[in-house]
């Protein structure tokens, strides 16, 4: 089945130059391993394809049930050079949370993961 990241995690984002950082935090500790497995560097890079021009770095913080991603080339030059509304990457957090994740039904049941609403 499908799970929306927005239903199982919260997030905050910010900037460093032309890089946006997105911290993704599991809403329940038992959901962290599933989120960490699902949000690979490649999967996040694919999600932001066409949005960022650089690569993605990924760090694990199991002590906080969190992942930190650095999205390079995300801010149109960054800081004062950027013409974007979100020049400081403040809302990349919920852009990340738009991800739709696949999970097998048994695992979803045992973790009590909420199923994404059907269209």
């Amino acid at each position: 089945m499908k799970v929306r990241l927005v239903d199982i995690a919260h997030a905050r984002s910010g900037d460093k130059g032309d890089t946006a950082n997105v911290g993704v935090i599991a809403l329940r500790p038992e959901w962290y391993p599933f989120i960490a497995e699902s949000l690979t560097r490649a999967r996040v890079a694919q999600h932001f394809a066409g949005v960022i021009t650089g690569d993605v770095e990924r760090f694990e913080l199991p002590n906080l049930n969190a992942l930190n991603f650095l999205l390079h080339g995300a801010l149109d030059g960054g800081g004062t050079l950027s013409l974007k509304t979100d020049a400081q990457g403040k809302v990349f957090s919920t852009a990340m949370l738009r991800m739709l994740l696949d999970v097998d039904d048994d695992r979803a049941r045992s973790l009590k993961l909420p199923e994404a609403p059907h269209k």
């Binding site: 910010g14 950082n21 911290g23 913080l61 906080l64 969190a66 030059g77 050079l81 509304t85």
Partner: protein
Amino acid sequence: MSQTSGSNRIVRVAAGQGFWGDWLDAPRRQVEGGPVDYLMLDYLAEVTMSILQKQKERDPNMGYARDFIGAMESVLPAVVDRGVRVVANAGGVNPVACARAVLDVAAARGAAGALKVGVVTGDDLLPHLDALIGKGHPLANMETGEPLSTVRDRVLSANAYIGSVPIVEALARGANVVVTGRSTDTALTMAPLRHEFGWGASDWDRLAAGIIAGHIIECGAQCSGGNCLYDWRNIPDLANVGYPIVEANADGTFVVTKHPGTGGRINVPSVTEQLVYEMGDPHSYITPDVVADFSSIRLAPDGENRVRVFGITGRPATDKLKVSIAYRAGFKAVGTLVYAWPDALEKAQLADRVLRERLDNMGLRFDQLLTEFVGVSATHGPLTVTTGEAPEVQWRIGVRSGDRKAVERFTREIAPLVLNGPPTVTGFAGGRPKVEEIVAYWPALVDKSVVQTKVEILT
């Protein structure tokens, strides 16, 4: 000054400003809402120093965060009568003038002689820039690797991020107000703890704990319910949001809390959101004093609106300091118009095509043009999932150029579209867009040995 003595002694550091422009009421609320030992006020963002440098060029007595003087006025009784000490990086590029303004305000309020203001200087590298480059310090851009010489003639300000050492010295010399220039945000919290508990220069774990305490509270209410995504609907009474307070122990463990009766919320999720804010490599949070390891942090609930933080480890600092350099980087302007139903997005898209054709026809060239449709896709771009027709759309177009005239001409091309472009357009009452000079940020590293800080006590 602190609440108890001996090994159980707690030192309370309260955050009262998270940036220049933060809530004016917060400093006073922090000193009046309950016991605190230190009030920490962070005023500096990456390009703030360049704004202050421009102000100082116009008036040699300016160049610091003026808000701080009002804040000092509002907390003066607590400082004078109850011994609350204030640590602030409000000094900008003119900490001495800032300190004098604080003393003037105290004198005007009948508290002459009650303040000892510690002034930390030495972060300002602008006067030494050519000498530094001449001696082989390239001050290369940390992101692009380019040497500073490529923009040297456009540099407005250059400040080293300095750490806790000079602040600790000012406190040890009896300052009850410490004013710095570009000290790190986190040092403003760590230095009082280091002073109170006598942490040594190689007490890495405790120094790291002080830095992480600083990171949690340096953005003010952003750890106590402000800008908090987790359960945001149910965060109580944001109108009276309580700014955070660190209650620290000598062993480096601490509790993050806020005054009773205030709004907002402090819990593990709210603190975690702030911990990951503007984070790079969490294993190496580099500061002038210590490299802190965010993967060591443990959080635990400790009662209502209380989170206990423990387990933090740190490693020796590097031999470099980060330098914040600001330089002139051309001009920009942003114009907006609002299009109404029906077909709001299509009308905005047509306006955009018409404007771009006119700019082309005039032969105007820009380094960049950026169009966004606010209400449709401005924040999440191609990730946006559209669910039906937008009832209205704000068309937003920005340009950037080294040629001021081109940007000025652009600003004259928005309003005409109200009468000679697509229909049902409004939202132009703000008038012509303003041309803004871009002051860009150039992060660099420099050897610690070339930065000499100095502490003066003014009374």
